[in-house]
């Protein structure tokens, strides 16, 4: 009987061996794959288990986790939801996350690599794990001014500190309340999400960096003028002052915004063309310099380049290569020129900062719960599209445009403001896209700005950048200058 008993014992060992193998496989080798399964609510609960760090603006939370009585232990709340929604993004049950919540999610939840030791520590000491806090560069006063100035219009305002790249304001309208997406009821989240995603005017889209790109219109003349100045043609050459310009190789013609010629005289300089925002001379300069010169300058300003602030910014685009008829249109910001408001703000920032674009950035610092600084963001050079000499010439152009040119509605008493408007066409009968970009004070720039208003600001084709976008910019610039 002993031989049989031994065999039974071996069978028992084999059965338990199988159990050891199976549990090891599930609890050690497959844990990551199983945690990633969307049906695994435990992983979802666990992601709420650690107190997610707050997102701060000037020390005050604009996103924070407060204890809740349900399964998730913490409720994410956004004290000033719609004002900051495009910056914070949202953090939801089952619909993912966006904005800073998404791009710095690792730090906020305490799972970033640099927080590894802290996690080990909290396991050993039994303390509740806690995520890091993220301090933004946003200035609440400027943000509020931009929010108020934009009013009920659809569009965006972006304000940057030219010397550092710090983003002082980033507003996109229409906005949404991220609190409606942070509720702990997946059906309510899905309903809120569905209604937002299907809403007219795309409230979930951050127009400042990630919308459908806009035609830049006359704001692009900063790029064309930069190319003309850098290549030297603007210093010596003037262009014939025409009332109608036939597009090369095409039966179509272009005209200046008000019809007629660009000021008086038979020829027109770059300065006059810029200050009065004339299309024909810009088209003539563009055709003279050639498509590669213009495209290279656009790329030097950041077109087609990837940029994270830390959210990914959609790269602005321009057709390349292009025939002269397209080049003429592209030279004053039409054809297939497409930009983000942030890119347009970077035009002004380059001029304001002696030709150097500092890398735009939303995050000031990331601080662990024990107050050690995990990451401090230092200013970095993003691009140097133009020389200091070119920038001071352009700066004069832009000051003149506000003083006595096409951008007069941005004037501020006692301060020299530099600016450029844009009134971009979308389709023959479609409302215009209205722009203003500029900086102030012109001699010692503290802020560079871009304002875009969609749908002609409700005035179809009768509104202009100067009439609608410039006054908005003026209010935001004043908010900075009054600090």
């Amino acid at each position: 009987m002993s031989k049989e008993l031994k065999r039974v014992a071996i069978v028992v060992l084999l059965m338990f061996g199988a159990l050891f193998v199976a549990t090891t496989s599930i609890q050690f080798f497959q844990t990551d794959a199983l945690a990633a399964d969307s049906r695994n609510t435990r992983a979802l609960y666990a992601s709420y288990d650690a107190e997610r760090g707050p997102i701060l603006v000037d020390g005050q939370p604009i996103a924070m986790s407060v204890p809740s009585d349900d399964d998730y232990k913490f409720q994410r709340t956004y004290p000033n939801g719609p004002l900051y929604s495009q910056v914070t993004g949202y953090y939801t049950l089952g619909q993912g996350s966006t904005g800073i919540e998404q791009s710095l999610g690792d730090y906020l939840s305490g799972t970033a690599d640099s927080q590894f030791l802290a996690r080990i520590n909290s396991i050993i000491t039994g303390q509740k794990p806690k995520g890091a806090s993220v301090e933004l560069t946003i200035d609440p006063v400027v943000q509020q001014a931009a929010w108020d100035a934009l009013g009920d219009l659809k569009g965006s305002v972006v304000a940057i500190e030219p010397s550092t790249g710090r983003i002082l304001a980033m507003v996109s309208k229409p906005s949404f309340d991220p609190n409606t997406l942070a509720v702990h009821d997946s059906k309510a989240v899905t309903d809120a999400y569905t209604s937002l995603i299907n809403a007219d005017d795309d409230p979930l889209v951050n127009r400042s960096i990630d919308g459908n790109l806009y035609p830049p219109g006359s704001t692009f003349k900063i790029v064309t003028s930069s190319a003309a100045l850098q290549s030297g043609i603007a210093a010596t050459d003037t262009q014939p002052n025409l009332g109608r310009f036939p597009l090369p190789g095409s039966n179509n013609t272009v005209s200046n915004a008000g019809g007629g010629t660009c000021g008086g005289g038979d020829s027109v300089s770059l300065e006059t063309a810029f200050v009065l925002s004339c299309n024909i001379p810009m088209a003539e300069f563009g055709v003279q310099m050639g498509d590669s010169t213009l495209v290279d300058m656009a790329k030097a300003f950041g077109f087609t380049k990837d940029l994270d602030i830390p959210m990914a910014v959609q790269p602005s685009t321009i057709r390349s290569p292009m025939a002269d008829d397209k080049l003429a249109l592209a030279s004053f910001g039409q054809d297939e020129d497409r930009v983000t408001p942030l890119q347009v703000a970077m035009f002004s920032a380059a001029v304001a900062n002696k030709g150097t674009i500092m890398k735009p950035n939303l995050v000031d610092s990331i601080t662990a719960p024990d107050l050690t600084v995990l990451q401090q963001f230092e200013p970095k050079v993003f691009a140097e599209p133009i020389t200091s000499a070119t920038s001071s010439t352009l700066s004069q152009f832009m000051v003149s445009a506000v003083q006595n040119g096409a951008a007069t509605n941005a004037r501020i008493d006692g301060v020299s403001v530099a600016g450029k408007t844009g009134t971009a066409e979308n389709g023959e009968d479609d409302p215009y896209t209205l722009w203003f970009t500029g900086f102030a004070p012109a001699d010692n720039p503290r802020v560079a700005i871009a304002v875009v208003v969609e749908d002609g600001g409700g005035e179809n084709q009768s509104g202009s950048g100067n009439s609608i976008a410039a006054p908005i910019a003026k209010q935001v610039l004043e908010a900075v200058l009054n600090k």
């Binding site: 199976a22 549990t23 435990r42 992983a43």
Partner: protein, 465 residues
């Protein structure tokens, strides 16, 4: 008789002035070891309950601890009983059973806390009461049955009672269908799974029956391809047990219990006769039955599909599909290597995490490390049981020992293997851990019988352990 053996002759209950001191001292060593291990076990159990309270509610609540303490008193009561009626019994079996029972209560209690169940709605409190009843039954068994050979006398009575118990749930009015399986009886406020008790009676019956018939079963038969197969008329018993198992599958819709009975019988038959042909025949018969069942019975078919591909969305969503299995696996994965800590996991997400899926709950809260420890405790318990069979000298006792040990091993394998996808999921309870009065009672009675057997083995003069 070998006079130098430390354990010799007669019962220590019969005082013998001359050699009394020597005889009593050795058993006391065993019992003292058992007492020490029991104190450790009860300490761990109390600590587990306190950890659950601290983890789940952040405070210590004395009521449940008091109830747990009363259980410790009963376990110690059993220990005292052993000192008198089975002083040579194995010292490891009782502490292992006690710690498994206690860990089970702690984890069940956590799910109660999450669900907000208190008083008689609390499964943990009912489990404590059932444990007390089970322990009293176990004490009664060791006290009443002083010699296991008595059981052999009633071999066929046990068979008859076992069959009646198995058929009870089929009776209208008494039987009750829960989760599709008709294995419960319901009398007044009490529900009971008679199949749990039946497995002990069947083990006793098999042991008695096989001791009588082993010679005919092992020696006569025709040789085919080097394996001796039994005569057709000797096939009777295995056919009867097979038919019984299949009727459990078909009429009570209980795959696990059928596998348990049949596996138990085949193994005991093999140990008794030493003939591999029985294993081949038995395994073949069961496989054939299971394959036919999986093709014809939808609930068996569902189990197979859920086992083969639990993560497919279709199986996951189906009624009777893999939702529970997948959630249990998510629970295990959530535990990882060291677990979430007692009272800090989410075992409540998995359906039936207090009974069928308690292993998943334990794996979640105590991690792979804790689950390994639990499996090792089972192995220790089973090893001590098998040891009785190795060391024993009456065939009935040896067969009963292997039967009772193997039934625990097989039950662990079927239920834990089901939860971890080694085999298709079937509804069986995890011995000592899972909530359920009948299961607890049956397993504590098995403990009592193993203790009785081990005491007899050590009392035998022939062999020294």
């Amino acid at each position: 008789m070998n006079g130098s053996s430390p354990v010799i002759e007669a019962s220590p209950l019969v005082p013998d002035a001359g050699r009394g001191i020597r005889r009593i001292r050795v058993p006391q060593k065993l019992r003292n070891l058992e007492l020490f291990l029991l104190i450790v076990a009860c300490g761990i159990n109390a600590f587990a309950v306190v950890l659950v309270q601290l983890g789940a509610i952040g405070a210590v609540d004395s009521t449940v601890i008091t109830l747990g303490a009363s259980l410790s008193v009963l376990v110690l009561g059993m220990h005292v009983a052993l000192r008198y009626v089975a002083p040579n019994a194995d010292p490891f079996i009782l502490p292992v059973a006690a710690i498994l029972n206690g860990i089970g209560i702690a984890v069940i209690y956590h799910v109660d806390l999450i669900n907000g169940d208190t008083g008689w709605d609390s499964t943990a409190i009912r489990q404590v009461v059932w444990s007390a009843i089970a322990l009293i039954c176990a004490i009664a068994v060791v006290v009443v049955i002083r010699n296991h050979r008595v059981l052999q006398r009633y071999t066929y009575v046990f068979m008859f009672v076992a069959f009646v118990l198995l058929l009870l749930p089929m009776l209208p009015g008494v039987g009750q269908e829960i989760f599709g399986a008709r294995v419960w009886i319901h009398i007044g406020p009490f529900s009971f799974q008679p199949g749990e008790i039946a497995k002990i009676l069947l083990a006793i019956f098999f042991a008695g029956f096989l001791v009588q018939r082993r010679d005919t079963l092992s020696l006569v038969g025709r040789k085919v391809l080097g394996v001796r197969f039994p005569r057709a008329r000797d096939l009777g018993p295995i056919i009867v047990i097979w038919a019984l198992s299949m009727s459990v599958i078909v009429f009570q819709r209980d795959l696990g219990t059928a596998l348990l009975y049949f596996g138990l019988f085949v193994v005991m038959l093999y140990v008794a006769t030493g003939r591999t042909s029985w294993i081949l025949l038995g395994g073949g018969l069961f496989l054939a039955g299971a394959v036919i069942a999986s093709q014809t019975l939808t609930y068996v078919n569902d189990r197979f599909n859920a086992w083969l591909d639990p993560f497919s969305q279709k199986n996951y969503d189906d009624v009777g599909g893999s939702f529970q299995l997948v959630q249990g696996i998510f629970g295990l994965a959530n535990g990882g290597l060291i677990g979430t800590g007692l009272g800090r996991g989410r075992p409540d997400i998995t359906p039936l995490s207090q009974s069928d899926f308690i292993v998943s709950a334990i794996g979640e809260e105590l991690g792979l490390a804790g689950l390994f420890a639990i499996l090792c405790l089972y192995l220790l318990l089973i090893a001590r049981g098998l040891r009785i069979s190795f060391a024993g000298h009456d065939d009935f006792g040896r067969l009963l020992g292997v039967g009772l040990s193997f039934v625990i091993a097989l039950q662990c394998f079927v239920v834990i293997g089901g939860v971890t996808r080694v085999i298709p999921l079937t509804g069986l309870t995890t011995p000592f851990l899972a909530s359920g009065g009948s299961s607890l009672m049956a397993n504590w009675i098995i403990v009592a019988l193993l203790l009785r057997l081990s005491d007899t083995v050590r009392n035998q003069p022939r062999l020294v352990i």
